[in-house]
């Protein structure tokens, strides 16, 4: 693709006599392109500058890992693996265990998936398979609009609208009907694990549904026609002809949503209650890895305290990387090479 190998073109047309008007005209027109030897230095300089930019991206990742690993050394040496299964978080006595945060992150994310997955698949199926074309554009635009709202605005809305609704209407009903499971017991504060799960679900629905939509669009039309020709109803066609074919991609979309939920900070911090305790009830306040960082990082006075927080960051980093890599591979396997669109 390089033009360096090609010989420079030469004109064989009879040249007008030097100094005449016609010659001057040709000379001025062709001079910048054809006269003299073009230096190769700017070309290679530019090439290397672009390569440096490419390397910089890789270096950034290296830098992130380096910063996190170095920063967490102190805590790693003090606690080792114990750090991840001890539930004692006590800055006053310099005792740090990350279990309550890991628990909170996992429970709130899974809860959000339980709510978001059926809804997002439903929306994706409706948009690709049932919806009139005119409505399709509007619907996908509005679901993507949800993705453009900053997380702090979700949090604001959750504090003043979602939490009161949960406290007044949802939690009493849940306690009455499902209280026996132990998951929905205790005083209905509104704020707590349930609120965090619901707001996270609202935030990840656009991601899961837009990627699921992309995956469903890729399923070949003749799959649908073949199933319909066998006498299937529309739902049977969707179930056996579309959803089953897109399974891997849908799972990928779900995992991508999980990755987002795991790292989500602000909205969760604002409604989860921020108490490092492990409680069975979803009504109880909890804490996540991201929100403990948000709340305590600036206040971390001791070196060990700071280091313990950075170690939580490191753990969060690795978990989200693994989850994201897994998801991308699954989505790629369906959409074949087209990069999974990042959803802002």
């Amino acid at each position: 693709m390089s033009n360096q190998a090609l010989p420079r073109p030469r004109f064989n047309a009879p040249e007008p006599e030097r100094g005449t008007k016609a010659a001057l005209k040709i000379e001025t027109r062709t001079a910048p392109l054809l006269q003299g030897k073009v230096s190769e230095i700017p070309d290679s300089l530019f090439g290397w500058a672009m390569r440096v930019c490419g390397v910089a991206v890789v270096a950034l990742l290296g830098l992130i890992v380096y910063q996190l690993v170095v920063g967490s050394q102190l805590s790693w040496h003090a606690f080792g693996w114990k750090f991840f299964w001890q539930s004692d978080w006590n800055p006053v006595e310099d005792q740090y265990g990350a279990l309550p945060f890991i628990y909170g992150t996992i429970v709130s994310s899974l809860l959000s998936l339980v709510i978001a997955v059926p809804l997002s698949i439903g929306v994706a199926v409706f948009i690709t398979e049932m919806c009139p074309i005119k409505l399709r554009g509007i619907l996908s635009f509005t679901t993507e609009l949800l993705a453009a709202i900053p997380s702090v605005v979700y949090g604001l809305w959750a504090i003043f609208v979602l939490v009161p609704i949960l406290r007044e209407y949802v939690q009493p009903v849940l306690a009455k009907t499902l209280g026996w499971t132990g998951l929905f017991s205790g005083p209905p504060y509104g704020i707590g694990m349930l609120a965090a799960g619901v707001i996270l679900a609202i935030m990840i629905i656009p991601i899961i549904s837009s990627i699921t939509r992309e995956v469903l669009t890729v399923v070949p039309q003749h799959q649908r026609e073949a199933v319909l020709a066998l006498g299937a109803t529309r739902w049977e066609m969707i179930r056996t002809g579309v959803l089953r074919n897109a399974r891997a991609g849908i799972v990928g979309a779900i995992i991508l949503g999980l990755g987002r939920a795991l790292g989500e900070t602000m909205a969760v911090t604002m409604v989860i209650g921020n108490r490092p305790e492990i409680a069975k009830s979803l009504f109880a306040p909890g804490y996540t890895m991201a929100s403990v960082l948000a709340n305590e990082f600036t206040e971390a006075s001791g070196d060990l305290y700071l280091s313990a927080l950075i170690e939580i960051g490191l753990a969060l980093f690795f978990v989200t990387i693994v989850v994201n890599a897994l998801a991308r591979i699954m989505v790629w396997s369906v959409t074949r090479g087209q990069p999974a669109r990042s959803v802002a």
């Binding site: 950034l60 605005v153 809305w157 629905i205 990082f297």
Partner: protein, 296 residues
């Protein structure tokens, strides 16, 4: 099947009647699907409704021109936070946009190989790193060295978040430029770097700018990475190496405070934030379509 009989008559196939149970399932699932759409649209409408309703009621001239008042005093505004956000985003764009576009050029023009694949995978991975973790990194990189919080640190954090998005969209846009256009330039004896900058990149300008705005909109509302980099400030500050207020930080502080007055201002701030983001994106889109960049 009302095909006219020009050829052999088409045998009539009679499907077995669809059973009652299957028909009901079909209708129920269609209903469920419509219901999910309504359930998803409900919070969207609610969020925008509250934002506009609560926000407009609280925005006034003071909000847009004054700095925050101490607790208990009514009035005051977020002018310094709006300015601070712009400073931080400006720094982030200055750092992130050239590097991101450079990486995109590398991926599309020089990276059709194994090295490119590595960079491609790494930028996808970077895209998934939680923003709060980026904040920790910027803290270690800038704040720890300077020994104090600064707008620069916030800008660095946001720039790190912008780079992967810009790199990948730039790559995709440059790949859309037909190979023949590049070859035409080479044929005229234009060197490779001139071709890349003035032909390839220029042809893809509007797409590249859309990618940049996507990245910009994504980081403009970020709060988590600013908590311990820009930190926030109650007063005016134009120095890049001093703690700086940001709109999103101010919304967060006010939202979790116990004061009604601050809650009102948080809603107003949220409305201003969204209007600024949408406004910036729209302005650039229009500039691309009509203004100085038109035809690029």
């Amino acid at each position: 099947m009302n095909s006219t009989s020009t050829a052999a008559p088409i045998p009539q196939i009679t499907m077995p009647p669809v059973s009652w149970r299957r028909r009901v399932t079909d209708h129920v699932m269609t209903g469920v699907s419509v219901l999910t759409v309504l359930l998803v649209l409900l919070p969207l409408i609610a969020i925008f409704g509250y934002l506009v309703f609560k926000g407009i009621g609280s925005i006034n001239i003071a909000f847009l021109t004054q700095t925050p008042k101490p607790v208990g005093e009514p009035g005051g505004g977020m002018a310094n936070a709006i300015a601070g956000s712009m400073v931080i985003l400006g720094i982030a764009s200055l750092l992130g946009v050239p590097l991101g576009i450079g990486a995109g050029i590398f991926l599309s023009e020089y990276g059709r190989n194994r090295y490119g694949d590595v960079v491609r995978f790494v930028s996808d991975v970077l895209n998934g790193v939680p923003s709060i973790v980026i904040g920790i990194v910027a803290y270690g990189l800038v704040v720890m060295r300077q020994k104090h919080f600064s707008a620069l640190a916030g800008g660095v954090a946001l720039a790190i978040m912008m780079i992967p998005t810009i790199a990948r969209t730039t790559e995709q846009m440059l790949l859309l430029v037909p190979q023949a256009i590049r070859e035409a330039a080479y044929g005229l004896g234009v060197s490779r770097w001139r071709t890349t900058l003035s032909i390839t990149l220029r042809t893809a300008t509007s797409g590249v700018i859309t990618g940049v705005m996507l990245a910009f909109a994504r980081v403009a509302g970020e709060t988590a990475p600013l908590l311990f980099t820009a930190f926030g400030n109650q007063f005016w500050n134009w120095k890049a190496d001093q703690p700086t207020a940001a709109l999103s930080l101010q919304i967060f502080t006010y939202a979790i405070s116990p004061f009604d007055e601050w809650h009102r201002q948080a809603w107003a701030g949220a409305l201003v934030l969204i209007v600024l983001i949408v406004g910036a994106v729209a302005a650039v889109r229009i500039a691309v379509r009509h203004g100085t960049l038109a035809g690029a």
